[in-house]
């Protein structure tokens, strides 16, 4: 057996002294279409701009609902298959349950001054963040540019997304 003589202390020392660099840019992917799937990404994007960071939001798969005219105002909490709701699946499946849970959560969020999805997307776009739709999903769902809210900066490919994300962090939600 060969022993490799690492000087661990010497390696660790400089890292400990260096202060981590602040994050200057984030690109957030929103891939889910439920209320609890969309909000965290919106809050993180808005929070990034509030901290003066550059931010992009990329909506893909069912996340696209958040920027689709017809669906944007009708985002619902998932009451089935969502253990965090603490509602038995069969009860969660009763018609109106998702509507009720969404109503309750929206009321709580309004109290905390968290805007509804349409207003939130507008706020984020107004803050100067890029708002993008995913081309693969748009093609798959057969959507056209007219289906999207005016705040959408563009429909881009995954390659273009990575270009936009260059030099920053990527967060997938």
């Amino acid at each position: 057996m060969t022993t490799i003589d690492y000087d661990l202390e010497e390696q660790a020392a400089p890292a400990a002294e260096e202060k981590p660099k602040p994050i200057e840019k984030v690109s957030i992917v929103i891939s889910k279409g439920s209320l609890e799937g969309i909000y965290p990404g919106l809050i993180m994007a808005n929070g990034a701009r509030m901290e003066g960071m550059e931010a992009n939001v990329f909506f893909t798969f069912f996340g696209l609902d958040a920027i689709t005219k017809k669906r944007q105002a009708h985002i619902k909490v998932a009451t089935v298959g969502n253990p965090g709701m603490h509602i038995p699946t069969l009860i969660g499946a009763i018609p109106g349950m998702s509507w009720m849970a969404t109503k309750m959560m929206s009321r709580k969020m309004e109290k905390l001054d968290i805007p509804p999805v349409p207003e939130f997307v507008e706020m984020i776009a107004d803050s100067g963040a890029g708002v993008y739709g995913c081309k693969a999903t748009v093609d798959m769902f057969g959507l056209s540019p007219d289906d999207f809210v005016p705040q959408v900066t563009g429909v881009i490919t995954v390659g273009e997304f990575y270009e936009q994300a260059a030099g920053g962090e990527i967060v997938f939600t």
């Binding site: 809050i43 706020m123 803050s127």
Partner: protein, 103 residues
């Protein structure tokens, strides 16, 4: 660089005043200059005063949403006036603690 305006003013590590009573308009102008805002325009003042007055009245700084709706300056312009984060910067210039909300 320490300036006359900021000597004797207690601030935390991020530059927020720890005692809002030590604030005055010269202090505000100096903190703004520190943050790269050469001159506070009437539009800046509208936001800074709204921020400060809300804090002094309620004990809490307004959210960016409320700021955009009630200060008289909308979100887009807020970010033009304070590119490095309107709520945070207006709070710092207004001599109140850093806002704690997520929105």
């Amino acid at each position: 660089m320490t300036t006359i305006e900021l000597t004797g003013i207690d601030r935390d590590a991020e530059g927020f005043l720890t005692n809002p009573q030590q604030w005055n308009e010269e202090v505000a102008a100096e903190i703004a200059r520190e943050a790269g805002i050469a001159e506070l325009t009437p539009r800046h003042w509208l936001v800074v005063n709204y921020m400060r007055n809300t804090y002094l009245e309620t004990g809490e700084a307004p959210s960016i949403r409320t700021l955009g709706k009630a200060s008289g300056v909308q979100i887009k312009e807020l970010y033009e006036l304070f590119p490095k984060g309107p709520a945070k910067l207006a709070a710092r210039i207004g001599g109140i603690p850093k806002p704690h909300g997520c929105i």
